[in-house]
Point group: C2
Chain length 539, copies 2
């Protein structure tokens, strides 16, 4: 008897798995049904075209309305005749996918609002002349802005929607850097405003917040994804706290029932919480492989994703894997982070450019739980993130990153690669020898400079420090790092010392010197002037 | 009492460690001595300049002649006066480095022969107008050729010297690809010739092999490195089989004696054998950190290197980590390899270019022991190699590579990244569903096509196959992969079927189809026509 497979929805990994399974089991039958209860699932329809005629049946008129797991049947209704019938299955697969959260304001169902819920959506997006308004958060927001920047048509205004901290792809310090970069590219960001309504007669063409009205040529919904799982409770399946279908590592949800793609729950190995959907797109081929094995009665366990992504935003790429500082906090870690700035290859290579990395680790266990980065060379940045991503599932320590061996020669890495530096800085932070602050914390202290509680000490050579000395003769001080040991008497012992250099490396050396001389209240600006400048902090 | 440190030699990681240690222990004293017994150690001298005046003493006239570990003294002789004396130490560090093996032929000590023993040497090398003759092997040879190609001056002729298989950075199939690439760049390679002599009156300017005489404008010795360890037995230290000083993971060789840099032995975690010197240059900062900790009486264990490298050779980069097929054989593994060709990012990105990877794994344990690759985008290739390099020390399986999550978006990776493909192909090879041959094995079969024992089947679309059909109507056959299931009767059952497509992906699908139809004697050309063409194999 042939193996009867029914798919609810047509998310890519399920279709791929069925096709792969049918190559070795040609007499298996497969039928795709869309659920009656949620028309959003039809958005996946575009992916189906390429699978037609490959032995997957797609009765377009039929809608699945109910599942009876005890009989292994799905009740279907004909969309035109209203006629009901039952289809039997040996295996049922939920592949209903996910969709961006609907904008919960008046007018949110007006036509013409574009959705960006994954890389494919972003690829299909084009910028309009006039104002492009993007409403959203997380990776979907970055993807939408990246695509619009690439088109270089019209202007871009952004209304960030709030998302849970655990889902934020970047920590606060790096978010500030990305926002500053976008602002420099002409993107207008309405931080702290609340979306109130979308208006338009035939099509959506106006966006109202609590502070302004924007006439919009194009409106894009790039909120975080929510899973489409309307028939799931019916089938007696369990959902996680964010509404995704719980599956085991064979993607099994219950007896003879599987789930994969955007509707399925993958618990991140970096965190015992579900992770946002868009960033797991790259794991779909592996989900497909696991599901094909399950269909064949064997096992190819799926490794839960660490959400490694890399998004080019104009001439700067943003990338990351695992948890940000804020996400790690929500997951119950005691996170600390090491922010480093360094050239992406040997400094003497003409194509060397600066890269910024933030390594997130747990203070209790020394375990690395995430990494985020910015850089001009996207391939070079993606390579560093991939190397850490490869390790994340096996719970690396900061020592593992300090010792990680990147593929070296001067055109591609420094002998002391930026990843190793990040690991070393993390070790120094954990040992207490490096007490760092990020550019935003520096800004808070600098804004308060008139209090005279702080001694801002520039450890670069005099030529670099001079313009700042001239601008702030009362608050800026300079002793080159190499001279600090013998000029330590010039450093006051009754103020908090804030050490600044170009990248954070020399100021750390200075910190070691000062501590050896008994000056303990010293902090070092991680990433130095480069990070300060990248964050848009003015001195 | 201050800590007295004596360094024999001045290899970089030892100097860095001492400087780092002196920052927290300023009253420690450090003296650098060169060994009398081997003037080669003086080659390291250039690195010393930048450390002078930082509290490291360098009595230029003194040469170390003997060590008495029981008294913790070094006997030194003044180079000019001949006067002998004894210097006491608390800690002795061997930092004598390594040097390319001397060319063991008449004339090999003539002046003017340039050495390339590491990345620094290569950086300092320039090409001469006229003929540049490079004699050497392994990574040093690649580094020297890369540098000369970059200069684009004169011509390059290469006399490969033979090295142990375990030290070959690339397997045979990939070596063929690199040689073909170099040949296309105009490099002349005298494979199989033996160096007989070097001649010249004042300077070396003629190279003699058993087959030719080459008038040379520049002669470069790029043989593999040998450690400089002439005083070591004297100190009662143990050497490994290749003459490097055995150290533990704190870099300790014996009581109060340490070694690091080119003279020290690091056992690769991928193989219980020592690994060649040049490729561990990037681990020097980490050796320095370990040694500094040891000097301070704490411990920062050094992780043995996996030799990850990445060398740009004109418009193609060669990179790798861990063992090649041949190296893995010598180390006692039962190695197999998966060769894959795929775009380095989503195929629709305009900057997409082809990458070739060879994943080396053990058939018994499924353990991945190495990876090598070629590609036009060096950063993209280095990123893939770094991701596998990060895992190598923890003994990944092919499944770990199949599930490795690279930083994804279409501009930087395919959803099914080439690394995941390599892992999947390896799984398919181990399960027996993919029986592959490499381009060199294909060439052997193709040369023997008149035997009529083989059925060469092109699975690409007709348009791709047509030129080969026209050229070889008797030996070339075509059935597009999508049609194979229903045209299986056209495939003979009494011949070995050799399947070819563009990259090896469709021919694997065809292989699965044919096996399902009971045709068992089928092989698939890994990497397909791309790999065949890259290897210079003519069809």
């Amino acid at each position: 008897m042939s193996h009867k497979i029914i798919l609810i929805g047509a998310d890519q990994p399920a279709l791929d798995a069925v096709l792969s399974y049918k190559r070795t089991t040609p007499d298996a039958t497969a039928t795709v049904l869309y659920p009656e209860c949620n028309p959003l699932a039809e958005f996946s329809c575009v992916t189906l075209d390429s699978f037609m005629g490959n032995g997957i049946d797609f009765p377009e008129n039929l809608r699945a309305c109910a599942i009876a797991p005890e009989d292994k049947t799905v009740m279907v209704r004909d969309n035109f005749t209203g006629e009901e019938s039952h289809l039997e299955y040996d295996t049922l697969i939920f592949a209903t996918g996910s969709a961006p959260a609907p904008l919960d304001v008046p007018g949110s169902f007006l036509s013409g609002i574009r959705r960006v819920g994954d890389y494919n959506d972003a690829t299909r997006l084009t910028a309009a002349e006039g104002t492009n308004v993007v409403i959203g958060d997380g990776l979907n927001l970055l993807l939408a802005i990246a695509r619009l920047l690439d088109d270089a048509v019209g202007t871009i205004e952004v209304i960030p929607s709030s998302i849970p901290q655990a889902c934020k792809p970047l920590g606060d310090a790096m978010t500030a850097m990305v926002l500053h970069h976008l602002t420099q590219k002409g993107v207008i960001i309405h931080t702290g405003e609340t979306l109130k309504a979308i208006e338009g007669t035939n099509r959506a063409n106006r966006v109202l917040t609590d502070k302004r009205t924007i006439e919009a040529a194009r409106i894009i919904n790039a909120t975080s994804n929510i899973p489409v799982t309307c028939m799931v409770k019916d089938a007696g399946l369990d959902l996680d706290t964010t509404g995704h279908i719980l599956v085991d590592d064979n993607l099994k949800a219950a007896d003879s029932i599987y789930a994969c793609g955007g509707c399925a729950s993958f618990i991140s190995p970096a965190c015992a919480k579900p992770i946002p959907g868009a960033s797991v797109k790259s794991t779909e081929p592996r989900q497909s492989r696991t599901l094909a094995a399950s269909l064949a009665g064997t096992s190819q366990p799926f490794h839960a994703p660490v959400c490694a992504y890399s998004i080019p935003m104009g001439d700067m790429t943003v990338a990351g894997a695992g948890l940000s500082m804020e996400g790690a906090k929500e997951c119950g870690f005691t996170p600390m982070s090491a922010m480093v700035v360094q050239f992406d290859r040997a400094h003497f290579m003409p194509e060397a450019s600066l890269m910024t990395l933030e390594l997130v680790f747990d203070a209790q266990t020394r375990r690395v739980v995430g990494i985020q980065g910015l850089g001009q060379s996207g391939d070079a940045l993606a390579g560093r993130i991939s190397a850490v991503s490869a390790l994340l599932a096996s719970h690396p320590t900061v020592e593992d990153i300090a010792n990680l061996e990147v593929a070296y020669s001067p055109p591609f890495a420094s002998a002391m690669d930026i990843l190793n530096t990040a690991g070393n800085v993390a070790e120094n932070i954990l040992s207490g020898s490096n007490e760092g602050i990020d550019p935003l914390e520096f800004d808070t202290l600098w804004q308060n400079r008139e209090s005279n509680e702080y001694f801002f000490l520039d450890c670069r050579e005099f030529g670099n420090a001079e313009p700042f000395l001239e601008r702030h003769p009362l608050h800026w001080n300079t002793i080159p790092q190499g001279e600090i040991a013998r000029r330590v008497a010039e450093v006051p012992r009754d103020k908090k010392v804030i050490l600044i250099c170009n990248s954070g490396a020399r100021s750390y050396e200075a910190q070691v010197c000062l501590k050896a001389a008994g000056i303990e209240d010293v902090v070092n600006v991680d990433g130095g002037m480069v990070a300060i400048k990248q964050s848009g902090v003015e001195i």
